[in-house]
Structures are given as structure tokens and as C-alpha cells.
């Protein structure tokens, strides 16, 4: 039986060999045929010569999550051949380079073998070794186009578009595509049982990764200053910001820049720069990952206590320490929430899709200025560096930046005695002024040490305590400003909570669970702190699962303490191996627990 537009294909390559761009072209071609796709690039922490995998899931049903097994394996790396064969689902297709024969002990009986003598095909056509290396990848895309029945001109058009201007490159690429396609059409039985066909399932959605969407969110959100230090997997936030800003933010008359990107000497300096800019009234951000967060601790405490807006993007990777720099995890929650010594708390936002990366990036600047505090957007490698089919980015021109409580010269004129830390509005948020605003009013001294309502240094226990209590009040104010959780009601007594990229596999997980007879209500948490919805959700359900990609159940810990939630009601599903959490893993764990608890089948 032929399956259309539903399959997972994995490419096993060696990194630094140009395979990623060929594989991306393949994925994008599916997308252009109207098929929703998700992409996972699993790469090593080095530059050249080690195994790397690239996974594409085509899914009209919108099952974007990772599965433990794949349907098609393009096994181009002899070194990982054994494990690559093992990762195929039974009945799956194994595409390999048959130029050299594969030892029989590495074969499996339950697979469809598709041998293509790629090296041999390439050899007579290209002489340059570098070209041979590159076009190998294009050849197998050509083969796949025939096997899967892809529209060939989608591919050739992409090649032409990609190399517009460098026309010399178009021909060899198309030749390589044709080499593969013609071989397949001639020698293989095409198409196979897994096929694609044009559809309009994509709609007006786009294919973009989270970091790039974040960068665009920063531009739309009015950020003018980006200070950063390179670190995987956050680097492309800053680099995309610079690239887009260099087109979107140029003063036409002068060709001068309405933005600044500073590659700082380290993460301390990066956040210091953001804080200096925030203090001085510009929207500024940094993007980093775990080790950077660790280094930013002292400055995060300063920004919390001195009440300076700052936006930080933490694109999480597998920790602790250097950990696995090219693997994904959600394990910086505790570290960020309580960053820095003393009584501190920092708000976090958890986007689940690239679109939400865009939205939350722009939102973060509003929030940070409204609450005069750092706001950390918690993305991860999975979301940040992989393209996903996601809603198109939207902006409402009627929307205005919420710049928070900043007094201008005129307003200062009207004030008898300015007190930076007075809680005039009872929401815990004082009015601030920017340097240079007024000749003789509103100047004050910002510091990380304790002060009274008029910003005068003090060690008075009363003034100190009032200030700390006001910061708590601000925390409560914050609850009404952050994005509320997303609730999905299925009238169940059982609930599943998740956040960030654990959302991606969830619709498929729910479908599996439903097939087993279990229905669930779900709540996707989008912030810390949360509103009361989370507490209500837990109270309204007999048992609640909380799915996380860390070892220590970090979100659970935060919720329990922030909301005084009964610990015993929450069952943690924890995966922390560094791949993105799989559909299989979640469904399996939930079913196992339900089984242990002897929960009866629903409905």
C-alpha cells in the first residue's frame, strides 16, 4: 500500500562535506510541494570529518516530532553504517552507495535495499575531488526524487534560484540531480511505496528555524543593540540579526546603521553591554547558551536588583558544563530562574515554534521595559537551529512598543520630588529616568547595592526590606503580563503539561494514547512564573504528567515552589539524552505509568 506524504528520512553523512545543503534542498522541495516538514540536523561538535545525520519528516498529519525509527535511510557514511541500518523501521528503505559492497552481516532481511553506485556515477562526470565530494550529495537527491516521485522541476528551480548570479554552478548541480534521477528511473523500480504528491497542506506557513525567527523578532521588537559572544547553538541569533538589520535598518540618506552589533570579549561583557544600553534607554539583547548563562550570573543579579531591562535568549544545549554542545536539552531552567546570589528570580518565556520565537522575542522587549528587569527567552538547539513548518510571521501595525515607565523632561517638571524606587502605582514598579533627560531634575544613582526609595544608598533594614518586598510585588504584577498557558480541553480527568519543544511531538503522542484508549487534557506552559491557570489545571485533574527534557524535573521544581502545588500529583516524564525527545519515548513512559497506576481505559 502506498503511503503519501508521511515518512521520515534520515541522511547519514560526514560533516564538512556539504551534505547539509543538499539535504535542506530535498526538504525544502517537499515543502514547496505543499507538504509540511520538520527537519533535524544532528551534528557533532567539530567542523569536519565526523558522522552527522540529517532527518526530514514529511507529514501531512502534522506529526512533526521525532520518531525512534525512520522509514528511509540514506546511508552515506560507512563508519556509522551499522547503527544506521539498525535505526530503520521494519520494512524501511535503505539507500546506499553500492560502488563498494557492504558486508552481508550488516544487512537486515526486513529492509528494502536500494543500492546506487553513486561514486561510480560521479567519477566520469566530475574530475575535481572537491566537486565529486559535493555532488555525491546532489546525486542521491536526484535518486530520491525518482523514488519518491517528487516534482523534478521544483528541484531544478531551486538550484537555479540558489545560484542565481553564479550561473556556472547551476549546470553541474542539475547534471548531478539528473545523474541520480536517471539512474533510478533506469535501474530501480520507481516510485516506491512511500511517495509524495503535491498538496496544499502547508497553506501560508513558512519554513524557518527558531534563531532566525528570533532575530526577526528582535528587529520588529525595536532592538537596536545586540551584544553577544559566539556559542553553539545561539550564534545564528546574532548573526541573523546582523544580516537582516543590515538590510532592514539602514538610514537611506547616509547608509549608516540604525543598529549596532558588538561581538563582545565574553558573555560577561555581552550582558554588561546590554545592561548599559538598557539603562540608557535602548532596547538591547544578547543570545547565548548554558556556559554563557553561567558567566552572566553576576550581571543578571545586578539587573534584577538595580532594575534594568535586558533581554537574553538562552538557546539551550545539553549540559552540564561543556556537556554536549550540539545536542538539545531544557536544562537551564533552575539556573536561569535563580541566577545570581541572594534572593533573585527571573522571568522566562518558552516558545515552542519558530513563529513563537518571533512573537516572544518582540514581546520580551516590551516585558523587560515594563518590569524593568531581565527577561530570558528559553529556546533550545532543537528549536533554534532546525527549520520547521510554522505559521507565517505576523505583525500588527497598530501595535505600539510598551516602553514602560520612563519619565521625560516635561513629566519631570511636574514632579515635586522624584523618587526612582517609589511604588506610586502599587504594582511594585517605579518610574525611571534616562541620563541626560533634564537639566536639574530626575538624575539618580543606579547601583547594585541597597538604597531607599529616592535611590540613596542605605543599609537600613527597613528600607532594604521594603525594597525587596516591592520586588516581590513586581513579580506578582508580572503574572498578568506574560503569555498565558495554552489549554486544550478533552474533558479528561488526566492532564499532560509540557513546554517549549516538548510540544512538537505532543499531537502524535496524544493520537497514540487515544488509540490506546486514553484521552488527555493538555496545558502548554509558556512562561515562568505562570498565571493561576497552571494551579487550576493541576487541581482539576486526578493526575498530571509533566514532560521535560532534563534530568532533574526542573520545571516541576519551579512550579511546586512558585504555586505551592502538591508535589505528589505530578508525574515527571524526563528525557535528557540530547536528541529531541521522541514521540515513542513520551507515549511509552506515559502508558507505563498509567499501567503501574492501574488507570483504566478512558471513555
Amino acid at each position: 500500500m502506498t503511503v503519501f506524504n508521511e515518512f521520515t528520512i534520515r541522511f547519514a553523512n560526514v560533516n564538512g562535506s556539504g551534505s547539509a545543503s543538499a539535504n535542506t534542498m530535498f526538504a525544502k522541495a517537499l515543502f514547496r510541494m505543499g507538504i509540511p516538514v520538520s527537519i533535524r540536523n544532528i551534528f557533532p561538535s567539530n567542523i569536519q570529518g565526523l558522522p552527522t545525520w540529517f532527518e526530514v519528516r514529511a507529514t501531512e498529519r502534522e506529526f512533526f516530532g521525532r520518531r525512534e525509527h525512520v522509514d528511509i535511510m540514506v546511508a552515506m557514511n560507512a563508519e556509522t553504517y551499522e547503527q544506521d541500518v539498525a535505526s530503520l523501521a521494519s520494512g524501511g528503505y535503505l539507500l546506499y552507495d553500492s560502488t563498494r559492497s557492504i558486508p552481508s552481516e550488516l544487512q537486515r532481511d526486513d529492509l528494502e535495499l536500494i543500492g546506487v553506485p553513486i561514486m561510480r556515477l560521479i567519477h566520469p562526470e566530475f574530475t575535481d575531488p572537491k566537486q565529486r565530494q559535493l555532488f555525491k550529495n546532489i546525486v542521491y537527491v536526484g535518486v530520491l526524487s525518482a523514488l519518491l516521485n517528487m516534482e523534478f522541476d521544483v528541484l531544478t528551480n531551486m538550484v537555479s534560484a540558489q545560484y542565481r548570479g553564479k550561473d556556472k554552478l547551476i549546470q553541474p548541480n542539475i547534471k548531478a540531480l539528473n545523474l541520480g534521477r536517471q539512474f533510478a528511473e533506469t535501474y530501480l523500480s520507481c516510485p516506491i511505496d512511500i511517495q509524495v504528491r503535491r498538496t496544499d497542506a502547508v497553506g501560508d506557513r513558512i519554513l524557518i528555524d527558531g534563531n532566525q525567527a528570533t532575530a526577526l523578532g528582535c528587529i520588529y521588537g525595536g532592538a537596536t543593540i545586540c551584544a553577544w559572544y559566539p556559542i553553539t547553538p545561539s550564534t545564528s541569533v546574532a548573526e541573523s540579526f546582523e544580516r537582516h538589520a543590515s538590510r532592514l535598518r539602514i538610514e537611506p540618506e547616509t547608509e549608516l546603521k540604525k543598529y549596532v552589533v558588538i561581538q563582545a570579549e565574553d558573555e560577561l561583557a555581552a550582558l554588561g553591554t546590554v545592561i548599559g544600553a538598557g539603562w540608557n534607554g535602548a532596547r538591547a539583547f544578547t543570545a547565548t547558551s548554558g556556559p554563557g548563562i553561567s558567566l552572566m550570573n553576576e550581571f543578571l543579579g545586578l539587573a534584577y536588583f538595580a532594575e534594568i531591562p535586558a533581554v537574553i535568549f538562552d538557546v539551550q544545549r545539553a549540559g552540564p558544563s561543556t556537556g554536549m554542545p550540539t545536542r538539545t536539552q531544557q536544562s537551564d531552567l533552575l539556573s536561569v530562574a535563580f541566577a545570581s546570589h541572594g534572593d533573585t528570580k527571573h522571568p522566562m518565556l518558552f516558545p515552542s515554534t519558530p513563529t513563537e520565537c518571533f512573537d516572544f522575542a518582540a514581546l520580551a522587549f516590551d516585558l523587560a521595559e515594563e518590569i524593568q528587569s531581565p527577561v530570558v527567552v528559553m529556546s533550545d538547539l532543537e528549536l533554534g537551529m532546525n527549520e520547521l513548518t510554522t505559521d507565517e510571521l505576523k505583525w500588527n501595525d497598530a501595535r505600539t512598543y510598551r516602553r514602560g515607565k520612563v519619565l521625560n523632561a516635561e513629566q519631570l517638571e511636574g514632579i515635586e520630588k522624584f523618587g526612582r524606587y517609589l511604588d506610586k502605582d502599587g504594582d511594585g514598579i517605579g518610574y525611571r529616568t534616562l541620563p541626560g533627560t533634564h537639566r536639574d531634575k530626575g538624575a539618580f544613582f543606579t547601583r547594585g547595592s541597597s538604597r531607599d526609595e529616592f535611590a540613596v544608598y542605605t543599609e537600613d533594614p527597613g528600607a532594604y526590606t521594603r525594597n525587596m518586598d516591592r520586588l516581590l510585588k513586581k513579580w506578582e504584577t508580572l503574572r498578568s503580563l506574560i503569555p498565558e498557558p495554552v489549554f486544550q480541553n478533552n474533558d479528561s480527568n488526566y492532564g499532560i503539561m509540557y513546554y517549549g519543544t516538548t510540544a512538537t511531538p505532543m499531537n502524535e503522542v496524544l493520537s497514540i494514547l487515544k488509540d490506546e484508549g486514553f484521552e488527555f487534557d493538555t496545558l502548554r506552559i509558556r512562561s515562568f512564573p505562570t498565571g493561576n491557570e497552571v494551579l487550576e489545571f493541576i487541581n482539576c485533574h486526578d493526575l498530571v504528567f509533566l514532560v521535560e527534557q532534563n534530568r532533574d524535573a526542573q520545571m516541576k521544581m519551579l512550579l511546586v515552589n512558585d504555586l505551592n502545588i502538591p508535589v505528589e500529583k505530578i508525574y515527571s516524564i524526563l528525557y535528557y539524552g540530547g536528541m529531541s525527545i521522541s514521540v515513542d519515548f513520551i507515549a511509552d513512559r506515559i502508558l507505563r505509568i498509567l499501567n503501574e497506576l492501574k488507570v483504566e481505559v478512558h471513555s
Partner: protein, 351 residues
């Protein structure tokens, strides 16, 4: 520093300066430092320099790290905003502030502990960025606020109050600034107002990174015999190699010096610096020569002071980055947000 009203001839006897302000408009909260602390003299010199230059106090932004020295921004220019940040990280905060609004005058005050130890990396990199600011180190060779540990600028063999000699060679921030290409490098002494005030004036009007290493004795922990950062020791070992004199644009005073030993530097606002070489072998426009001279003097135990190096017309950070003239923090939504239509086109890039 840039974008300040042009100062005119200064009349020291008048009560108010060119912009109608009195000296006390440049003052601030009373110092809580120890009586006699060199840092207070530096603050006083800043007050005098700014008031004589008729710079508007509220157009300053004062930044600092942590330490007795870093407290001093509370004690001058009370009508300007100040930011007492964290230990050793003032340079990055200053960078962010300056990038956000290029139109203010940025003055950073740091200590030798703050800049030469914990903050050394930031010190070096803010110079590399050529940030347009005045960077002052109140250098007392000790950690004042934590009660007298040696700092990294202390000289080998200089003795602590308890009689223990310092074991390590000093880090000389002036040599470092010279080597790293700071466009204005000076050393002075908190006890020498005559020298310090003109240097500060020059620094405030310099466009680019102006570094002043000011030896500023700590009377509490490092002013005893045997300390090379005591008032007495510094007075005895000081060698002024270049004297700088600030000349306002319309200043008519003619200054005569021996030909060949004097040099005029045109500041970007039209005023001038007159540099007088007091040492035959010193040339404040020769960066590499200056470096050698200072290092040799250091080896010989001589404290070289004066405006050691100055280069006008360099590209400061904003020039390098090619930012627009208007301060970034004044750009409004219209200027910043590309809008919904543009976003439609951007979406198409991802299809």
C-alpha cells in the same frame, strides 16, 4: 569627548561659568571616603575641570565598578546619572550606555583592583573598541575597600602596612593602554591639581578613548614608608615629561615655549592642547617610543606623568561601527519597526 557646547574663555573670578552654573552645580553628595584619600582630590579636579569647561552636568553619564574609587561618581556632578555597576565590569556597561546614546559625555571611574585584576579583560577590550569616553583609574596600588590587599599595579618590593613586601611585578596600565592603541593616554597624581585639571579638560574634549592613570594614595592602607604609592614616594619619584595646557577656541592667551619642545594639538571642537615637552627624549605623538620610555622609567623606578600620548582624528567606536548620527535610544517605532508589509516579503524568503 564629543557634542558639548563649545566652551569659551574661562573667567575664574566670576561666580558663574559660561553656561550660567556655579561650582556647586558640579558638586554632589558629600564624600564618605577617608579624610585625605587621594580619590577625593580626583573628584575635586573633575568638578573643577567640568565647571571651567562649562560642560552641562546633566549631559554626563558617570559609570564605575566597585571599590572606594568606584564610589566617587556619587561625589561629583550630582545632576548627572550615575551607575555603580559590578566589580571590574564598568567598561562593558559603559560600552552599552555609549552605544545607546552617543551624545552624552561618558566618564568611568575605576580602581586599580577593579581595572588591573578582575576587570583587566574588559579594560583591554574597551580600548580595542575605541569607545569615546574618559576612563579614570584612581590608582593606589591597593584594594582600599577590602582593607589593604596588594593590587596588581603595586610595585614588586613595595611593602604593605604590616611590613610584607609585594612579590609580583606590577601591571602598568599606561603601558598597556599605549600598546593597545588608546588615542589619549595620561598619567597624573591626585596630589598635583596643577597638572591634573588641565589633563582632565583635555580628556573630556578628546574624541575617542581617553585614559588617565591617576596615582591616588590610600591614606588608610598604603601611605606608609616603604609603599611606592604613598604621597611622599610619588612626589619624590615623579617625572613630568609632557605638560598639557588646554586652550579654548577663542582664548587669546599666547603661550610661549622653547621652540621644538612645544606642540599644538587641535581638538575636534576647535580648541587646542598645547603640549610642552619637559623631557628632551619624550615625544607624545610617538606611540611606540612612548611605550619604551614609560617601560624603561618603570624599570628605573621613575613615575612618568603628563599627557603621554595623544592622537586626534581617530575613528571612535561609532565611526567604526557606522552608526547613525542620532542616538539609538531616540529612535522611535517608525524608524525601528519595518512593519507588516515588509514582513510579508520576509515571509516569502522562507517559502
Amino acid at each position: 569627548m564629543t557634542f558639548v557646547p563649545k566652551p569659551r574663555v574661562h573667567h575664574p573670578l566670576l561666580d558663574v561659568n559660561e553656561i550660567g552654573l556655579k561650582r556647586r552645580d558640579y558638586e554632589a553628595a558629600v564624600s564618605t571616603l577617608c579624610a585625605g584619600c587621594g580619590h577625593d582630590s580626583v573628584s575635586a579636579a573633575i568638578i573643577q575641570a567640568c565647571s571651567e569647561l562649562s560642560l552641562p552636568p546633566h549631559r554626563f553619564a558617570k559609570l564605575s565598578g566597585i571599590g572606594c574609587s568606584s564610589k566617587t561618581p556619587s561625589y561629583f556632578l550630582g545632576n548627572s546619572h550615575g551607575f555603580n555597576s559590578v566589580h571590574g565590569r564598568m567598561p562593558s556597561v559603559a560600552t552599552g550606555a555609549n552605544l545607546a546614546n552617543r551624545d552624552l559625555i561618558y566618564v568611568g571611574v575605576s580602581g586599580d583592583g577593579d581595572s588591573a585584576s578582575i576587570g583587566l579583560g574588559q579594560f583591554v577590550h574597551v580600548i580595542r573598541r575605541q569607545l569615546n569616553m574618559v576612563y579614570i583609574v584612581d590608582n593606589n596600588g591597593t584594594y582600599g575597600l577590602t582593607k589593604g590587599q596588594f593590587s596588581a599595579t603595586n610595585d614588586r618590593g613595595s611593602v604593605s602596612k604590616k611590613g610584607v613586601p609585594n612579590l609580583y611585578a606590577p601591571i602598568d596600565l599606561v603601558s598597556m593602554a599605549l600598546q593597545l592603541g588608546a588615542s589619549f593616554v595620561a598619567r597624573s597624581f591626585s596630589g598635583d591639581k596643577q597638572q591634573l585639571v588641565p589633563l582632565l579638560k583635555a580628556a573630556f574634549l578628546h574624541k575617542g578613548f581617553a585614559f588617565l592613570d591617576i596615582i591616588s594614595p590610600c591614606v588608610m592602607f598604603n601611605n606608609h614608608t616603604g609603599s611606592t604609592k604613598s604621597y611622599d614616594y610619588v612626589r619624590d619619584h615623579l617625572e613630568e615629561v609632557v605638560r598639557s595646557n588646554y586652550i579654548a577656541p577663542r582664548d587669546e592667551i599666547e603661550i610661549h615655549y622653547e621652540p621644538g619642545t612645544s606642540k599644538k594639538v587641535q581638538l575636534h571642537d576647535g580648541s587646542q592642547l598645547n603640549l610642552t615637552k619637559l623631557s628632551e627624549s619624550y615625544d607624545p605623538s610617538d606611540r611606540i617610543g612612548a611605550m619604551s620610555y614609560v617601560q624603561q622609567a618603570l624599570a628605573d623606578g621613575v613615575v612618568v606623568t603628563g599627557l603621554l600620548y595623544v592622537e586626534e582624528d581617530i575613528n571612535e567606536c561609532h565611526d567604526i561601527l557606522q552608526t547613525i548620527r542620532q542616538p539609538l535610544n531616540q529612535l522611535t517605532e517608525d524608524a525601528l519597526c519595518p512593519g507588516a508589509d515588509k514582513l510579508k516579503k520576509i515571509n516569502n524568503m522562507f517559502r
